[in-house]
């Protein structure tokens, strides 16, 4: 048994914010209760118990990351399930959803099974694979979604690119609606975005870099929302970055559609003006304008945004040490996500502590249609973090195999302190 004592339990699904001890038995939560009650239960039980002192820490349900790239199979020079999940644990995540754009693409049950098995033997945290919508994510024919579901996928997406056509999207949504899986889309009008390496605007014009307009995203969001309405399926918009896209989501929700969305830490922290020629600022969707960032902050505060997702996208150093327009899109994100959220959202007064925790826990759980709480019998996945621990992020010390982050050397207040997965402490600062 493991007793987490002296912490402040913040649990959004029940609205709990109290000084409670959490008692874990095996891989399950036994109880979360005032210390005296927990002591009594332990006396009655009689088993030996380890204690973890969480003085000064927030004890939250285990964080879920809806969007990451673990690169295995096929991209092991950039990341593996082992190194990626170790980085996730250091970031406070207890479960991560792995996008299917591996090599081979996770578009069939045998790839899904290989990922699940690898995660079971080498992963520090839970890996929940996302299957491809179409074979090879090529946008032509449906992938074997039901077989992948049986093997363990929690959603489908052709991430890295949008679901190619409205027709295919309709098929995917119809099918996934019947299977009870959310459809996640990387929204991008590929004709407007062709050749673009950053957001279109003053900075792209100044730097002479090809930009894509915000409409490249929102046009596709508009299409997807209408197909969701047509099919009644659950639609989740990945890494939403533009004000216009957020407005479409808000409006769809007001009409009662099952549309959800996620925002990445880099999109609520950085803007296109931060882009120089440093390839660590190159990601897709690209950093938006200040107005977009302001709109995202509003959406994060008012509930329009369901989850913070990292879009952790490791790339080996050599691949980023090139000309800006030749570099791959993407940055790492696990280890800085919570600290950036605390800095940009909580300490700035934009969101409450409860809402901050919700964005990492109950929010993403809702997208996946699962429960996430600190309740008796629930999986013992917990994230303990500090709101005032001061530290400096060093990319060189990252557990990820890659170093592609714009936040190297950034000093933070607030950090993940302990990560517990299935009753096991997988990370302790």
């Amino acid at each position: 048994m493991l007793r987490i004592s002296n912490g402040r339990v913040v649990e959004p699904s029940s609205g709990t914010d109290a000084s409670l001890d959490v008692l874990i038995e095996g891989d399950r939560i036994r109880m979360a209760a005032p210390p005296a009650d927990v002591s009594r239960a332990m006396r009655d039980n009689g088993k030996t118990c380890e204690t973890l002192d969480a003085t000064g820490m927030i004890v939250a349900p285990g964080f879920i990351d809806l969007h990451c790239h673990l690169r295995e199979p096929g991209g092991e020079h950039s990341e593996t399930i082992e190194t990626g999940t170790r980085a996730a644990a250091r970031g406070g995540f207890t479960a991560v959803c792995a996008m299917p754009n591996t090599r081979p693409v996770n578009d069939n049950a045998s790839v899904t099974r290989a990922i699940v098995e690898r995660a079971a033997s080498h992963g520090s945290v839970r890996v929940w694979p996302i299957g491809a919508c179409s074979l090879g994510s090529l946008g032509e024919s449906l992938a074997e979604i039901a077989a992948m579901k049986q093997a363990g996928i929690v959603a489908v997406s052709d991430d890295g690119r949008p679901v190619a056509t409205a027709k295919l999207m309709r098929q995917v949504m119809d099918y996934c609606g019947s299977l009870g899986l959310p459809v996640i889309d990387h929204c991008e009008d590929v004709s407007l975005a062709a050749g673009a390496v950053m957001r279109e605007g003053e900075t792209s014009v100044r730097l002479g870099l090809r930009g894509m307009p915000a409409a490249a995203e929102s046009i596709c969001v508009g299409r997807d929302v209408q197909v969701a309405e047509l099919t009644g399926a659950r639609l989740h918009i990945a890494h939403l970055s533009a004000r216009a896209s957020l407005d479409l989501v808000r409006e769809a929700r007001d009409r009662g559609l099952a549309v959800t969305c996620e925002v990445t830490p880099h999109h609520f922290t950085l803007v296109d003006e931060d882009v120089g020629y440093d390839t660590h600022f190159k990601m897709n969707p690209p950093l938006g304008s200040s107005e977009d960032r302001e709109a995202l902050l509003v959406g994060l505060a008012d509930g329009t945004v369901d989850a913070i997702a990292t879009d952790h996208a490791p790339h080996e150093p050599a691949s980023k040490a090139v000309e800006f327009d030749k570099a791959p899109f993407g940055i790492t994100g696990f280890e800085t996500a919570l600290a950036l959220a605390i800095e940009q959202l909580y300490l700035s007064g934009c969101v409450s502590l409860m809402r901050l925790v919700e964005l990492f826990t109950a929010g993403p759980a809702r997208v996946l249609n699962i429960e996430r709480g600190i309740t008796p019998g629930a999986p013992a996945d917990l994230t303990l973090f500090s709101l005032d621990h001061e530290w400096t992020f060093r990319a060189a010390d990252s557990a990820s195999k890659s170093r592609n982050t714009p936040f190297d050397g950034r000093t933070f207040r607030g950090a993940p302190m302990v990560t517990v997965v299935g009753g096991r402490t997988v990370y302790q600062r």
Binding site: G195, R206, G208, L209
Partner: protein, 360 residues
């Protein structure tokens, strides 16, 4: 072996602080005109003016940079800029190392960084780089400790072109300040336009950008330096009205990811003809960075007319590039204030001492 040089040629007092009101500007790299001040630009143009004289002399070779090596890394096909840099280096007595896109190992899959590290291992004193990626010169400058000159990076900047344009304008009109300058063509994809917008903006020029609407993104307005203005105009007649200087850009007919602009429409709407030129101020200058396509963006009668500065631009390009090379690497290693690897661009206060002509 500088057989073409003569001790009789007196090098002008380049860089002499006394003759520049005590102002001496130092440059580590020349990557863009955007960060330069009007004072720095004036200093560079004054330096370049000193080298203009040499172009007129029957024997043009100096020994100022004897023993120095200039690497010319041209990853994008270029004729005039590459030859201009090579000639500028040669006239200062420097050797040049030539890398051309066609023969480069980039074709074999080597990264840009590895290629320039290889060049750098041959110990050049500075490198001029031309590359199709915006930011390539900036990228190289972050990785090498020798001075880098941007000879054109993607659609970002082409600072030496803007400097030679400014020198040409100043020679002909006697000033740069407050001029009405009209730039015609594909502004969005033009590094020449950007470098000129930034440079001329520092002198309070009123800049008019003219071309098909899709080549005039509205954010160009925000490039205006304080005290200058940038406006976008799609009617050439309006754009030329009152212009002191007209810069025509080359029209690239095919661009990646973009439909070609119909050539006949371009000629009809935007070709600089004698009739249209008459709308500008009398004696307005016509500049073109080259290569020029007669009959497309410019009427041959304009290109060959008295207002055209096209060939002067080429000659001035040599002076500008000689001046930059001199300022970046023209430092005596025997000087008591010897350069360190960290400050290769340092210019000492007595460059004349090192600028004596070869006597061998």
């Amino acid at each position: 072996m500088n057989l073409g040089t003569s001790p009789a040629i007196a090098l002008p007092a380049v860089g002499d602080p006394a003759s520049r009101n005590g102002v001496l500007h130092r440059f580590h790299h020349i990557l863009a005109t955007e960060p330069l001040t009007a004072e720095q630009i004036t200093f560079l143009l004054d330096q370049a003016a000193s080298f203009q004289e040499i172009q007129k002399h029957p024997l043009k070779k100096l020994a100022t940079l004897r023993g120095k090596t200039v690497a010319l890394a041209f990853f994008e096909p270029s004729t005039r800029t590459r030859i201009s840099f090579a000639t500028a280096a040669a006239r200062l007595g420097a050797d040049s190392m030539n890398l051309q896109a066609e023969s480069s190992s980039l074709k074999k899959g080597e990264s840009l960084l590895d290629t320039v590290h290889t060049l750098n291992a041959m110990k050049p004193d500075c490198i001029a780089i031309r590359h199709s990626s915006s930011g390539a010169a900036d990228f190289i400058a972050r990785h090498l400790d020798i001075p880098v000159i941007n000879a054109g990076d993607g659609t970002h900047e082409h600072p030496t072109q803007a400097l030679l344009d400014a020198l040409t304008i100043r020679d002909r009109l006697g000033r740069i300040d407050g001029l009405n300058v009209t730039i015609l063509g594909d502004i969005q994809h033009s590094r020449v336009a950007r470098s000129n917008i930034h440079l001329l903006g520092k002198f309070g020029c009123r800049i008019t950008l003219c071309g098909p609407a899709m080549w005039l993104p509205r954010e160009l307005d925000q490039l205006a330096a304080p005290g200058s203005s940038v406006r976008r105009v799609t009617r050439i007649e309006e754009a030329l009205d009152g212009a002191d200087v007209i810069m025509t850009l080359r029209v690239q007919q095919e661009r990646m990811n973009e439909p070609a602009f119909p050539v006949d429409d371009y000629v009809m709407l935007y070709q600089l003809t004698l009739e249209r030129l008459a709308l500008a101020r009398p004696g307005a200058l016509v500049l073109h960075p080259g290569p020029m396509i007669r009959g497309l963006e410019i009427d041959p009668a304009v290109a060959d007319g008295p207002q055209s500065c096209v060939l002067e631009q080429v000659t001035n390009g040599l002076a500008v590039r000689m001046a930059l090379l001199f300022l970046l690497i023209g430092v005596s290693t025997e000087s008591p204030r010897t350069e360190t690897p960290d400050t290769p661009a340092e210019v000492t206060a007595e460059p004349n001492k090192d600028s004596t002509h070869a006597s061998d």
